[in-house]
């Protein structure tokens, strides 16, 4: 029965280990009021749980957090918290609940879909708004996130400011602290109790992200300016996405592109800081062709709805070399590798059309290529498309190269201009 004994002693030691911090805590003197506690005490009255209520059942369809930003009752939160209501205002309504469980109706005023922000208004009574600060702090500064994680109750999370990430599709603050679902839309405060960012997302294990408060200031200024007319949100989303993507792609078009070589080719390399490139080659001795690849992705996506994201751009290269196969054999294998499209976003049939493709043989850099250009239109935002270009080298009997370039949520002209510049940067070096 030694097993039983050892299990028991293990259990016992486990219990003791668990007990240690608790007993230590209990034996200590009451800790003096610390910063987090002070901040929570002074600001919790201006923090709300934001609820999206389904009209037919009266149940919560989504929850998040929000906070009062001025004396007119404007409450800021994330776009993704209220996205159900934005897309189907006839099915849902918005509601807020304060720390002392007071609830009230919320009106959606405006959104910034790119930076995942929304401004709502509610009749909150005489509550002190949280002042908006600045998003630039020095690395390592302690900051405090407020919100209502998993509907468990309002809470404060302490963490560290780890800089503004500018090498991404949109700026975001890297927060080393644990944000959890339900805290989205809540404020993150500095020592002085000013908002520096809005809780937005997490990548797990203390890797969390905040929207810099500057974008909220910008949105609030717009709200205050256009107080008379309420914007049509569908048009607003389309305009915001279009101009953001236009700006981003135009920046890519203006930049000098670095090139990289892959086999006999010189190809667009890391064309902008926002692209993260990965590559490797297969090392299978039995395989009849060699394969080397390089994939570059912009990692961020813009949230539109539960299963509908946009904004990503990616390009991939797959180089194949024949190990002394006949050209027919080589092309049979190479052909199987063509037409495996990369995806940078997700969308469903209520969001987008089916893809339409144009396909032809094209000559550039003195070689022959098979090329397919495909696009699908966004149903609610018709000026936006997902486009994907697939190119395969077809003039060499022992080398194959598949190039794919895909962009989500772009306009027609930018997609074509980007493809043109991309093709111009493909050269055969031999």
């Amino acid at each position: 029965m030694t097993i039983g004994k050892s299990t028991f002693s293990l259990l016992l030691s486990g219990l003791l280990l668990l007990c240690i911090p608790l007993t230590v805590h209990a034996n200590q003197e009451p800790i003096p009021k610390d910063e987090a506690e002070k901040l929570f005490a002074s600001h919790s009255a201006s923090i709300y749980q934001i609820r999206v209520i389904e009209l037919a059942t009266g149940n919560k369809a989504a929850i998040g957090s929000g906070f009062l930003i001025d004396n007119q009752g404007h409450i800021a939160t994330n776009f993704h918290v209220v996205s159900n209501y934005v897309h189907q205002p006839s099915r849902y309504r918005l509601e807020y609940a304060s720390v002392d469980d007071k609830t009230g109706e919320l009106e959606l005023i405006d959104i910034d879909v790119v930076h995942d922000l929304a401004v709502t208004r509610g009749n909150t009574g005489a509550v002190k708004p949280i002042p908006l600060g600045h998003s630039k702090l020095s690395k390592g500064t302690r900051i405090f996130s407020l919100g209502n994680p998993h509907d468990l109750g309002f809470s404060v999370v302490e963490g560290t400011y780890n800089g503004l990430l500018e090498k991404s599709l949109f700026d975001k603050i890297f927060f080393s602290g644990s944000l959890n679902p339900g805290m989205s839309g809540g404020p993150t405060l500095n020592h002085a109790g000013q908002v520096i960012g809005i809780n937005v997302s997490t990548a797990g294990n203390q890797l969390s992200f905040l929207v810099p408060v500057d974008y909220l200031k910008k949105l609030l200024a717009e709200v205050l300016q256009n107080q008379e007319e309420k914007p049509d949100l569908t048009t607003r989303i389309e305009q915001q996405l279009f101009s953001h993507q236009e700006q981003f792609i135009n920046k890519l078009l203006k930049e000098e592109w670095k090139t990289t070589s892959l086999g006999p080719f010189s190809l667009p390399g890391s064309i902008d800081d926002i692209f993260k490139c990965w590559g490797d080659s297969d090392d299978d001795k039995e395989a009849l062709m060699e394969h080397a690849y390089s994939n570059c992705f912009s990692e961020d996506q813009i949230f539109l709805a539960q299963r509908f994201t946009t904004g990503g751009v990616a390009y991939t290269y797959d180089l194949y070399r024949s190990k002394q196969l006949s050209s027919v054999h080589f092309y049979n294998l190479y052909s199987g590798e063509y037409g495996r499209p990369i995806r940078v976003n997700s969308a469903h049939k209520d969001d987008v059309d089916n893809y339409q493709c144009h396909m032809d043989f094209v000559t550039f850099t003195g070689k022959e290529w098979k090329m397919a250009f495909c696009s699908r239109q966004y149903l609610k935002y018709p000026s936006l498309y997902d486009t994907t270009v697939s190119v395969a080298l077809v003039s060499e009997s022992d080398i194959g190269l598949v190039i794919q370039l895909t962009a989500a949520g772009v306009g027609k002209d930018t997609a074509i201009a980007l493809t043109r510049k991309f093709i111009e940067h493909i050269t055969w070096q031999k």
């Binding site: 006949s326 094209v362 699908r376 074509i416």
Partner: protein, 313 residues
Amino acid sequence: MAKIVIEEINRLGHVIGRHKFDQLPIAIGRSYQNDLILSDPFVSPEHVIIRDTDGGWLVEDQNSENGVKLKLHSPGSRPDCLQSGDDIIMGRTRLRIFSSSHPVVATHLLPTKASLPQIIARPAIATTTIILVLALLFLDAQLTAVKQIGMDKLLASSLPTFMFALAWAGIWTFVGRVIIHRASFLPHFIAALMLFMISMLMAIMSEYLTYNLNTELVATILEFIVISVALAGLLYINLVNSTNISRRTIIATSYSVAWSILLVGLFLQYVNQPEFTASPEYPTELKAPFAKLAASTTADEFLKDSEKIFDHD
């Protein structure tokens, strides 16, 4: 008066007995006094007597229990008189009466040319087909191999096809054995292999066609037509070789069966097409440089042409 022939006809319309008479009247019935003795229990002992009259052969019912029925081929003649070629029905027996001067159908000529099943079963054609199918299968396995493959794998790749052809031919040989009491295996086997060869060649051809045309439409239509004709051909050979249905019926049957199979297949494919696909779909065939017959365009032209896919409605 010419001599008279009476044929006994069974229910399938086949002649089961012929009786020749030199003179009339002729008594028909079950009793042994009759000129024509029938064993049908539904026939009376003295059923009818057939007499000669000016209007033809008069049928006199001898008060039979079950009566007599005449089936006359030339209307307008007397309803109780028979002409050469007419039928008398009594009990469950059908008799057909002829005068000996009744014309007979022209002689069937023995086929001077061999039938299609015989042609394809000739040693030269049969051997060539088997070798060609083997070669195609080996070549296909070799040219699509991702890794080096040995002879055993090559052989294994040809087995399913041959097993299928053997099974198909076996079934039709059995059908032939049952229906026409003749078993002939080789034509069925070779025909099945030929269909397989044609469909394999068509698949290869349609890949090259699709590669050059940048659309699957033409190749699909062509493949449909060729495969349907080839499938009808296989069924034609199977039916000719294993049944004695008339050629016209066989052709109609084989074509309608082949077309219905393929149309049902096309229909199912159409119905099961997903309404929405998350990835773009375009023909992904790539072929060796020598196979490119279509002309290339420039990148600028291509991008200009690509603009049309943005006008979705």
